[in-house]
Symmetry: C2
Subunit: 235 residues, 2 copies
Amino acid sequence: MSGTLYGIGVGPGDPELMTLKAHRLISTARVVAYPAPDSGESFARSIAADAIPADAVEIPMVVPMRVERFPAQDVYAGAAETIAGHLNAGDDVTVLCEGDPFFYGSFMYLFARLSERFPCEVVPGVSSLAACSAALARPLTARNDVLTVIPGPLDDDALRVRIEQAQAVAIMKVGRHLPRLRTLLDTMNLTAQAGYVERASLGEQRVMPLADAPDAAPYFSMILIYKGDDPWLTP
Amino acid sequence: MSGTLYGIGVGPGDPELMTLKAHRLISTARVVAYPAPDSGESFARSIAADAIPADAVEIPMVVPMRVERFPAQDVYAGAAETIAGHLNAGDDVTVLCEGDPFFYGSFMYLFARLSERFPCEVVPGVSSLAACSAALARPLTARNDVLTVIPGPLDDDALRVRIEQAQAVAIMKVGRHLPRLRTLLDTMNLTAQAGYVERASLGEQRVMPLADAPDAAPYFSMILIYKGDDPWLTP
């Protein structure tokens, strides 16, 4: 009997935003894998750290930080073979995923390689989207609004047409694109309706109107825009 | 000192998909409010039931089921005043919200009435979106995809233009709109890329290709479409 591959969303950063199921599975894990930078701590591991058993086998998947948009697939190909070894030996493998595994998550690179060969279960997690709207203390989307989630690296024309057709907009992966995004939203007269959040749910969380946001935003930052009639403000 | 209003996401249905924080706050709550139908059980309460203290004061907010699209605001106005009484008396009030409170949630109707008068904290939860993609066992959205979330009651023209401009699409609140939505997606040649999920994460969850979905879908059902290059299938 082979083991099961678990892709576990550990939520946006606050360890208390892990689900009961994530906590149970991590607490009883024998093999734990997670993405890690080439220097410094793994964010996913840091969220789950207190739950990981001291004697668990740990598999850091070292993803070098680089300018290219997406990680080299060789990292995931290698990790998938290491993980397959444990699964074949009958051990379950628990993969820690920031936020939700299937919401812009790198877990898909393992899932693509392993889900046809082994039993696989995805445990959904709280996304950064939910954490950011909670941090801003305003609804993300309401009633019959359209919500569009757009990666910040897209070009202005691609952003503009999609922003125009939604009532609620989340721009992810803001990082170094912030000055350009702010200029775009200014030209669309949307700055007043835009909020900025970085490191949502963590101790160092910062929340402010987009107009006040720093030019140097971290990768884990988001802009939320609400263009509707603010129904919650006029009950 | 007035009490704090907590809007707590209890997740998509499986009680184990509550967060540790939701579980802690509900387990120690003295006053618990939740939306409830005029007959039958409250879904939000049923998710959290095992955590609610036996001696907690419970405030069901009875929202009559009707054909109109949105609940009468008088229900929330009345509930807000009841809740304000407890907050003024110094007690915290814990409001149970299906999924995430700020993702199409009725919590906003209380938040709009109370957040300027009382301290308020929103605890994000796992959304039905994350639960449905986990149930379908395929990524919701990847890399630099655009994800658009569209309520099923929108008309075909509104749906079509937004579906065209996204790589990943979630159609919420499918219910009785399913036959029309299926026809629309057929004309757009998207049926083969569309999955259908109802009651995600619950024991009675059903998952299937859209082509096999029943004409009579429950309100808590969703269609997920992926139009991109399926990067996870060709690693």
